[in-house]
Every structure is written in C-alpha cells, then in structure tokens.
Symmetry: C2
Subunit: 334 residues, 2 copies
C-alpha cells in the first residue's frame, strides 16, 4: 500500500529503474503516495460540510467509526457528522475523538500530540472548516501548509553554500535528521510571513535586520505517505542570503546543530538516510532555481521539477452531494 | 471540447469564478486542456513502437486515417504502422503524409510549415522515435520542449525590470503578440544550451560575454489547446541579469521591437490579449521566483504554482500492448 523511505530508496535493482537518476528516485520517494491511488479502494474521501477535505486509509477508518456521533460512513465516503454545523462544534467534536484515541494508544502518530492546531480546509484559498491538532492531520490526509527558509551564502571560494539544521533528537517526527535551515507548519492564527519570522527567530536567532532580505520564491507540493498516515504537503519557500560571518543559533531546543555546506555537499546529503525525506523538495527546488541542478546534466530534469509541484490543490475541494442526499437527506448547512 | 483564449478569459460571470484571481484565471487559460479530459472519448492515444507519445483529436484523426499504410486505428488507439521499424522510416513516412495533407490545405496549422523538425519521444529522457515538422506536432498532441531567457535589470528607481519582445507580424503563430525576451523550440540536433545561445544571438544580439551570467532556473510545463490542436509544452527557463545600458537588437527579423518594463507593467501585460498566452507561464514563474508575486498577496498562490508545473511527463510513455497484441499479433519491433 505504501513504500517507506528505506525500502523504496534501496530498491534499484529492477530493470526499469536502472537508468533512473538518483534525483528522480528521491522525487518519487517523497511522492510515494501516487495521486492515481486515489481510485484505490483502500482510501476514502473525508467530507466536511459537503466538501472533500481529506482522504482516510482503511486501517485508520476502523478507529474513527467507533464514534458514530462524529464520523459517518456513507457510499464509500467518510463524513464529519453534518449535524456539526460550525467551526467550533466541528473542532470540539474531532478534538474529543482524537484525545480519546490518544488515551487508547492505538494510533502511533497521536503519541506526538502537539497542542498546536492546523486549519482544515479543502484548498488553500477556501474557508476554514475546523481545526485539528497537527499530529492528527495525517490520519485524515489533510493538506498541511508550511514555511521554509533557505539560508545561503555565496562563498568566494566554495560558491553557493547552504545552511542546514540537524533536528533535535527529542523531536517526535524525524528526530536527529538533517533539515532545511528554518521551517515550520502554518499554525492557526499565524500568517505565512508571521510564521517565517517566528521560526527564523526561534530556530535560528536570525535578527530582523537580516530578515529584510527575505525573498519569497515559490512553493513546492508533494504527497508523502508512511505507516503513520498521509502527508499531502505544500511549503511556501523563501530564500535568505546571509552575511558570511552570520552563524545561526537555536533558541527553542528543537535544533541540535547547524552546518554550512557547499551546494554539492548539501545535494549529496539529501540522498542519505540522515536527511528528512519530506524536507528534500525545498532543498532540491533551491538547487534548481540557483542553477546548481541543471537540465544539461540531469536527464530527468522536467519530471523532477513536476514532482516538486504535484497538483494537490486540485485533489480536494470537490462538492460531494451524493452520499448525503442519498442516505441522509440534507446536511442542514446550506 | 476546448476553450479559446478570448472565450475562457472573458467568462467570469459564473458564480464559482467570482473570487478567482486574475492570475488563477490566466493559469487555467494556458492550461485549458485539462488532463482529466484524457478520458474524453474525443481524444485517442497516439502510439509509436508500443509507447504512447501523443494524443490525437477526432477532428484531426479523420485526415490521418486516409493513409492506412502509415496510421492505423485499433481499439481506440492511433498506431504508427508497426512495420515502420526505425527512426528514419517513421520520419520519412510521417513527413510524406504531412506534406500531402499540406498540399490539400485541409489543416490550417500546416500552412505554417517550418522546415524545422522536432524530435518525437514519449518523455524527455526517453529515446527519439521519429522527427516531425514543428508545425505538425500539435496535430498529434506531442510534447514540445523549448528554451526561454528572462532578460532583466535591477533599476535603482523602478526595481525589478524585464525585457519583453514584440513578435514580428509576419510570424505564423501569435503574430504581433508580446513575448519573453528570448525563446525558441528545441529543434533536432540542438541541445538546451545550444538553443539558448543560438536564440539569444539571433533574436536579441546578446554577446557571449553577457551570456556568461546565464542561469538555469527550472522549467515550466502546461497543456494548452486551441482550434489548431494540442500543445503540451515544457519550457526550460533561464534568467539573465543584463547591464542597465544593454539594449537587445533583433537580427533574424522575427522580433518587431523590445521594451523594458517594470515588474508590475509586465504582469499587467500578461492579462492583456496582446500577450502570447503560452508565454505567460515563463513570465509568471519569473515574477514568483523573484518575489514579485507573493503568497501573502495572492490567495491562489499554491494552485498557480502547481499550474505552472503540470505533470506532463507522467501523461505519456505508457507501454500499450493491448491494441497491437489483440488485433495485429506483434509489432515485430521488440
């Protein structure tokens, strides 16, 4: 059903993969959930207020259906009970279910409860329907949004150099793995720029005067899956050229160390199991935008660029009328 | 079946489009062929050597089926006759058909015969199967590849400024429309970099010493359709910062004039009917990468970025066994 990082990464013996570049393999690893799998019977649309906002795997569904006042299964769709008519009611009910499941210790991702909420909506530009602890969004296949800052210098000798952080070993997800200099999820109540400034301060002590050079450079989107759940992910990408004498310092205890690497060393590190798989897209996009990964040397260049920008925004948002109207009359929320 | 530029662009009256940003509308215009339409019965896979390399619309198919020695219709697939076993034979046979159709004056796109060939292959990294005059590739829905150079300056007063070209009024396609400073299709025998240098010289007289600053910055991909045919397109994107006193000069007669615009003026121009629709992705990508279009001011930012990088490389390349094995035994080309 899904490929774990290590399995997929080491499976290069089959003949149709023999000429696949390392970068293409990596791009397929962080997109190991294939959008074509949406037709797979093991996944069910998650519908809130008649709009698809996520995707639920059958191994997770069985736990949710223990709470029929909150989750309903109709015509192969999982509905948040339409009687929960507003943001507050929906958020409270789902939170109660998740806290109960957490106490049962049946879903490993809930061990990493964060006390930090993410907004749930169909696509980035549509209304917030409820909020949910960020540890739980992968159970519902809900799109996560985050911010990443590529801190770099142009060294007279080494050329383009990139700051990377090593995540603290106490982090719930990807402990001790290498990661981009600064990154964080978009929590409830914080805008993209507020998140960028907050994380730059907390993770790397970047003073505001240096942040004046922060440059918005695009976004990457990819769909990762592991044993914990589904991770459709969009990262808003920023570049920040840093003075050669600036050294990031962590404040919040979430970073073990920072290291400044040449572009080649940073690229090589993405291929190691020591790099957080879901942070590779931001670094690869950076190396492409800065001309380090080029189409004259990477034969799969266009496919890799496409795999850095998969169409997540078109996956969800569909109006789901049939399961409700067929079996439940109306949501009462028109 | 398809939306022309003007129709789609002016259709903003329906309620679900009322809050769609101008940029999102434009991104949907240059992606007016929706990949979901692949299931549409009006389109048939074009198969060469058992691999899908294109897509043929029913209004075009009827002309091709006048040549049963070259094109065969089996199980809703259009096959290049498997008896044509190599690159040279395939190229010659298709060329003869196209020249005959051109003489009949039944397909308007062939009026623009270029005497310039594009390679036909399933995906960018797979083998060349035949070559075809570039005026004809839209009849077969074959992926085109091109190169674009964003020429820009950083003006002390105006900030980021971009050179645009106005296409000659004598051009077959998009005559007199505004376009990126330098661009050209990847013709047979030219690499990406060779094409960039050739076009920079011919279109804008950019000296080699300035081209030393040419920077590879990614690629855009989109799927456009108009009355002439299908245009799945991938452009390799380069940025070139130019000195403030450099003025591009055309040599090959294909450019009417150049103009240096502020980022805002350039963006505004993409919304006008005076801009070549299929050149908008490169300019919008440039304005995103340079921080002019930002997620804090453009609510549909992630969707727009995704629409600049649609998954063309995964559309084609499928091994098609069934139509051949069911009805024709074998291609004889294994």
């Amino acid at each position: 059903m899904y490929q774990l990082y290590g399995d997929e990464f080491q499976d290069n013996q089959s003949s149709d993969k023999k000429d696949m570049s390392r970068l293409l393999k990596l791009a397929r690893t962080f997109n190991c959930f294939h959008l074509s799998d949406l037709q797979n019977k093991e996944y069910y649309p998650f519908v809130v207020n008649r709009v698809q906002v996520g995707l639920i795997r059958s191994d997770i569904l069985k736990f949710l259906l223990q709470y029929p006042d909150v989750f309903q299964f109709q015509s192969n769709h999982v509905l948040l009970n339409p009687a929960l008519k507003n943001y507050v009611d929906r958020s409270k009910s789902v939170d109660a279910v998740l806290r109960d499941l957490r106490s049962q210790k049946v879903l490993s991702t809930l061990k990493g409860w964060r006390d930090e909420n993410f907004e749930v909506r169909a696509t980035y530009s549509t209304e917030n329907l409820l909020k949910m602890d960020r540890s739980a969004t992968c159970l519902f296949g809900i799109c996560n949004y985050g911010v990443d800052i590529n801190g770099y210098t142009n060294d007279p000798k080494k050329g383009l150099c990139i700051w990377l952080q090593k995540r603290s070993r106490t982090k719930q997800r990807w402990p001790g793995k290498w990661d981009n200099m600064v990154g964080g999820g978009l929590s409830c109540g914080y805008s993209i720029l507020e998140t960028a400034f907050k994380e730059a301060e907390e993770e790397a002590s970047i003073p505001n005067e240096l942040m004046l050079k922060l440059k918005s450079c695009g976004s990457v989107s990819f769909f990762f899956e592991n044993e914990q759940g589904l991770f459709p992910n969009t990262e808003f990408v920023f570049d920040l050229e840093l003075p050669p004498d600036f050294i990031p310092k962590n404040k919040d205890g979430e970073v073990e160390e920072f290291e400044l690497l040449s572009a080649q060393d940073a690229l090589d590190r993405t291929f190691s199991s020591e790099f957080k798989t879901t942070s590779c897209p931001v670094l690869i996009d950076f190396l492409i935008r800065h001309g380090f990964i080029r189409p004259d040397t990477e034969p799969h260049y266009p496919e890799i660029v496409e795999l850095l920008h998969v169409s997540l925004q078109s996956v969800y948002g569909k109006i789901i009328n049939s399961p409700v109207s067929e079996e439940n009359g109306s949501t009462g929320d028109t």
